[in-house]
């Protein structure tokens, strides 16, 4: 069994294809969609958790690559700039999944990438702007 959070990018020409249908029907994967958007350039972004048999998962990834989908690990999407963070903690009540959490008694902010669902609420709630996203994510605001 494998369980992996990934980000899919759909170029405009395949954004309307039923990709999820194939993942379930042909590869027997469980799909948990965390977030889906289409930007004005008609590019799609799908953030989801896939789980199933390892072999099926690998075949599904291969198939998606062939379809022209861009596949990225979720962890690469939101970047915590520890050099910019002042450890105030303002983000920790805004983050819905406790990916940003406050360690006590150290009173410091920690970022647990695996818990992040790329909601991006922290980006602007951080007064020191220590949270960043990949430049092309900006198109999906």
């Amino acid at each position: 069994m494998i369980k992996q959070k990934i980000v899919l990018r759909f170029p405009p020409h395949i954004v309307e294809k039923p990709t999820i249908y194939h993942l379930i029907k042909d590869y027997d994967l469980m799909v948990n969609i965390l977030r889906a958007d289409i930007n004005p350039k008609k590019e799609g972004r799908l953030i989801m958790e896939l789980s199933g048999e390892e072999a099926n998962y690998q075949r599904a990834i291969e198939w998606m690559n062939k379809q022209g989908l861009q596949i990225m690990n979720l962890e690469q999407q939101i970047i915590w700039r520890s050099d910019r963070c002042t450890h105030c903690g303002a983000c920790t009540v805004i983050c819905p999944t406790e990916a940003l959490l406050f360690e006590r008694p150290e009173m410091t902010v920690h970022f647990v990438e695996e818990k992040c669902i790329v909601c991006e609420l922290c980006l602007r709630a951080c007064p020191a702007r220590a949270m960043e996203t990949l430049v092309d994510n900006a198109n999906f605001k």
Binding site: T86, C88, A90, C91, V93, R124, A125, P127, A128
Partner: protein
């Protein structure tokens, strides 16, 4: 034997490397273990710190004379307007100033990506700053326009002067409304979704000398990673606010005006901030040494978070419409635990002031003193305290056409 120590004695011990310094956090345990009298006898100085957003901050600059000369009338630093109504090439840049082209809250909530606070951070970091200015031209100052760049080392003076810093206590902000609000206390989620506070509590300078008995005009301090001084009491200084038995106020009270040479400060401790939907500001790191002149002062320095209280204030209606009142008092130990109970409900808390930063400042100041780099000063004049009968004034709002002879 009762402790009775002078600042001169403390400085003599600093010079010989025999001074004993504790941070305001470390000293709490010492007093608990040994009692106030023994702690006062053992410790010469207690260091404090705070690292929070402080809007009432800014810098005076003298950018030097151009050739031909110019008397700056309208000036912009990296696009951010600076006040030029002083002498020819003197400017004051405030932390909350915004570029004229900033969209502000036209697309609410605005981002306020770059303002005066960010220019100050860039200046301290040694980055090149773009100066664009115009003037009307005079016989002695003929130039009417200038566009150039400079960095901190190339100008005559850069003096950080913050009219109101180090607030002795502050409101805990909460939102009783049904929509998210965007305030200088951060993003407040609807229906009491979170409660934000902004004080270092037990490490905060003015909680450790609550009645202002040791500090005053001329007190040397840690300011922005360098050395600064207390210039005056701060604006909105309100020492008359109601106090607990330990002398700490339960509401926003005393404030300080601070001054220091920006050229020896560090960008680490002067950070430009962007408050969503509110504006730009500056996060200021400062720390004040408290000389343990006697047992009474040690008693104040031993204060801990559970004995310091702050009011919970609604920023949806009560604060903006100045209606007064609050939803009760909470102590800083509760606030720092991550949740407080308001109206019978558990509400998650967050701070805007960095406690980790405050701790680092108090430790740095301790190091400076123990290694002999920093000596204490006696204040030239003490600041107005509880006996000064100050009452905080609000803005007079009357019909400007009203005649005084009627």
């Amino acid at each position: 034997m009762k402790t009775n120590r002078s600042i001169e004695e403390i400085n003599a011990k600093i010079k010989t490397g025999k001074v004993v310094v504790f941070t305001a956090e470390e000293v709490i345990g010492l007093v608990k273990e040994k009692g106030v009298a023994a702690a006062a006898a053992a410790v010469d100085v207690v260091t404090t710190g705070t690292f929070g957003p402080m809007c009432s901050s800014g810098v005076f600059l003298n950018v030097g004379h151009s050739q031909p000369r110019i008397k700056l009338n309208e000036a912009y630093l990296n696009g951010v307007p600076a006040y030029a109504g002083i002498a020819a090439v003197d400017l004051y840049l405030g932390a909350t100033a915004l570029p004229l082209a900033d969209p502000a809250n036209r697309n609410h909530p605005g981002e306020f990506i770059y303002g005066g606070g960010h220019v100050i951070e860039d200046l301290v970091a040694g980055k090149k700053i773009r100066l664009v200015a115009t003037a009307y031209g005079t016989d002695c100052y003929p130039l009417k326009k200038i566009a150039t760049t400079f960095c901190l080392s190339e100008i005559n003076e850069a003096t950080l002067y913050n009219p109101r810093n180090a607030y002795q206590n502050y409101n805990v902000a909460i939102n009783l409304g049904h929509k998210t609000i965007y305030t200088y206390m951060g993003v407040l989620k609807p229906d009491m979704g979170n409660a934000n506070y902004s004080s270092a509590g037990q490490l905060s300078p003015l909680f450790n000398d609550p009645l202002l008995k040791t500090i005053g005009i001329g007190t040397r301090i840690f300011l922005g990673g360098g050395i600064g001084y207390i210039a005056w009491h701060g604006t909105q200084h309100n020492p008359s606010a109601e106090r607990a038995g330990n002398g700490t106020p339960m509401y926003p009270a005393a404030t300080l005006a601070l001054i220091g040479d920006l050229k020896q400060m560090q960008p680490r401790w002067l950070r430009g901030l962007s408050f969503l939907g509110y504006g730009a500001t500056l996060q200021v790191g400062l720390g004040i040494p408290i000389p343990i002149l006697n047992e009474e002062i040690m008693g104040y320095c031993a204060v801990s978070d559970q004995d310091i209280f702050a009011p919970i204030v609604d920023y949806h209606h009560s604060y903006p419409y100045r209606e007064g009142g609050n939803l009760g008092l909470v102590n800083y130990a509760e606030l720092k635990s991550g949740a407080v109970t308001v109206n019978g409900r558990k509400v998650p808390t967050a701070s805007l002031s960095s406690y980790a930063g405050a701790r680092e400042i108090a430790v740095s100041l301790k190091d400076w003193i123990t290694t002999g780099q920093f000596t204490l000063t006696s204040p030239a004049v003490t600041l107005p305290s509880v006996d000064a009968s100050i009452s905080l004034k609000t803005m007079p709002q009357r019909d400007p056409e009203e005649r005084e002879d009627q």
